[in-house]
Symmetry: C2
Subunit: 463 residues, 2 copies
Amino acid sequence: MEQTNPIIEKIRTLLSGKQFFALQKYLESLNAADIAEYLEELLEEEALTSEELLCCFRLLPKDQATETFADLDPQLQSQLINGFSDRELSALLDDLFLDDTVDLIEELPANMVKRILQNVDSGTRAAINQVLNYPEDSAGSIMTTEYVELQPGMTVAQAFDRIRRTGVDKETIYICYIVGPTRKLLGLVTVRELLLAHPEKVLRDMMETHVISVSTLDDREDVANRFARYGFNALPVGDKEHRLVGIVTVDDAMDVLQEEATEDMEKMAAITPSEHPYLRAKTLEIWKQRIPWLLLLMVSATFTGMIISGFEQALAAQAALIAFIPMLMDTGGNCGSQASVTVIRGMSLGEIALRDVGKVLWKELRISLLCGGVLAAAAFVKILLVDGWLMGNPSITIGVAAVVCSTLTLTVILAKLVGSSLPMLAKRLGFDPAVMASPFITTIVDALSLLLYFQIAALLLGL
Amino acid sequence: MEQTNPIIEKIRTLLSGKQFFALQKYLESLNAADIAEYLEELLEEEALTSEELLCCFRLLPKDQATETFADLDPQLQSQLINGFSDRELSALLDDLFLDDTVDLIEELPANMVKRILQNVDSGTRAAINQVLNYPEDSAGSIMTTEYVELQPGMTVAQAFDRIRRTGVDKETIYICYIVGPTRKLLGLVTVRELLLAHPEKVLRDMMETHVISVSTLDDREDVANRFARYGFNALPVGDKEHRLVGIVTVDDAMDVLQEEATEDMEKMAAITPSEHPYLRAKTLEIWKQRIPWLLLLMVSATFTGMIISGFEQALAAQAALIAFIPMLMDTGGNCGSQASVTVIRGMSLGEIALRDVGKVLWKELRISLLCGGVLAAAAFVKILLVDGWLMGNPSITIGVAAVVCSTLTLTVILAKLVGSSLPMLAKRLGFDPAVMASPFITTIVDALSLLLYFQIAALLLGL
């Protein structure tokens, strides 16, 4: 069943044969993100010692080594740092982009953080401390301070000079930001525009002044959604006084969108989001993500049980009703989760705002009437034909079918309204709407539908 | 409750006051994606006639008009095209990026497609037809043929000349592709490298030759995942003979990731994915996305009902067992959906491959033993203390608690194994794994857990 990766096999063979020159040539042909993954897999399979990891790493050309390092797991990064001399460490930190250095520091133990801060220059140290101070899910925490900054009085030729002089260290050079004396963002120019412009043209006269920017404290998901909306490659980040403090680049925005979608799916399935990919996460870690919600939801099912217990006598008299409980519960749950997932995703894509609550409820009401009607009609026919006539069960009467189908319609309406309104309510109260998905909606709708079921049965069948 | 958008209000006021000059100045300060959304909202609220839409559009500067057009709904795009003269249409098509033109053509009725193809030059027409021929979810369908192409013998200065001459129409100029005489992709250079290199340097000597490329028929989600993995701004697309035919840019990849995540969530919640945002979709359209799955799932709940009917006599004798059915069903469903959502997301992120099925099942088995154990212990205590002692229900015996808790443990194990393996099986058979999420897993696990429940009850309580 298990297949091995031919590239990993090749690295393994070259390493064990000590063919370092061939290994170097081979690694050079690979992308840094791939090298990082292969090294991680080899270490995991214990086919690579710490010394060999360090050796592979030293075989890589400088740029590739830096990129590979940035893509490694924090655990492997600290293994490598432990093996590095101060000179090697300082050279690496010089080449790392600032946002990667910050990511690294956030994951490392305190003594290694100290060693890192000792090995960077004071300007970088100040920038690191600045970014580290922003809240976890803010734009500030994903921004970099390495961007190209130009002055409005510069000519195109001067701008190119500046880009050539300072561009090597910048995360992107293709969008350049023009700031005034108080560091206020005045506009931007792209390298495309600069290339097409006359060398003597002054930036002030050609810059785009209607710049969309974000603030350091904006939610990182909102920022990432703007990239998807506008198709930008970078967005400037301003502080409270609208001074330019950094930029967010599209690759980081893409990572945020992927992470947020994964987190939303996990929350929708009653899982606490995790940092690690599934196959790398320990069993206990995954268990910890799942068990609290399972316990909570199990205990809340007590109410459903109590409702059934309360009607035990009635159920004993009309045992045929019991068989329809799973169908009613499942259909209610499915209807509720359709509505809640639609609303949760719509809100996180920015398509549905809190002020749309009226529109959403009105829409769901109409949808649920349509769905409830069709489902009830189908169920009515099915119950009488299949469960009653075909199975020859005399206790399935028209009365029983009527009770089941009217409960079904009401359950569908209720489920859609609860499913669409609870995520919006959660957001209004400052909670994450994604938690209000299938599992919670199901538990609530279960209890409500059973109450309805027994009330309607009492009314129609006189239990 | 409903709030209005101040920007839309301003546009509405300027329009109704016929202050076209002020409106023009105001629109110029907005981003194209925003203008498109505001125009759509105004039309929807019937605060804008077709003529006024055309008038707004004509007020925009050329570039902004093109971008706004590309961001509009297909319905509004065709309204505008109907209002355009042939000259206006031809100017617009000249400015539109090729991939936007293709998107447009895919949505328009045949007579308008004809008019469009008549108004583009023959080269563009050929390129449109080429892209239109790729399958819907392929890399070819999201690529553009507008990229900068250089020859290996060019110097840096010559490369800049070429970029300046042809770059205006290209979707990105920052990554340039170097092709040989047979159009085979030889390497790439970035504008950053070109800017930092000596003008006389020859591209052959500086280009990156280890280029990661995709094929026209690759799945567009796999392609988009590579952007997330490698952090590229563009990826070259080759045909079967490895000739360069186009590029995919990061903004399109980001859209794909967003759409695919939304589609997966919808499928996980038993909804057929839709093209339109929720608030814009018609009630009947949303109903059509939801009702087939609800019907299918409702009918499959028949089996659960049949299982209960089969044990009706036994249930009448031990009525206390009925009250625990919802709890068992819900817990099973929750456990199954935790496992299935984890595996589905892992597969679509490329973290879990089909060959990992052994690892996944072994992991889920251990997790389910831990979860099942804890849940059963908690349920045992709760049933005896709360349901039995606190509620004073004499029919809740240790035997009943034992039946419930052993069923619970087995259900959890079963749910996790079914939940994690079915999505992988679906993928192996060529279906979309996302369909094998909560609703289906729940229906299957429901039936299995009820069968277990009654078998164990028969065994332990001698029903």
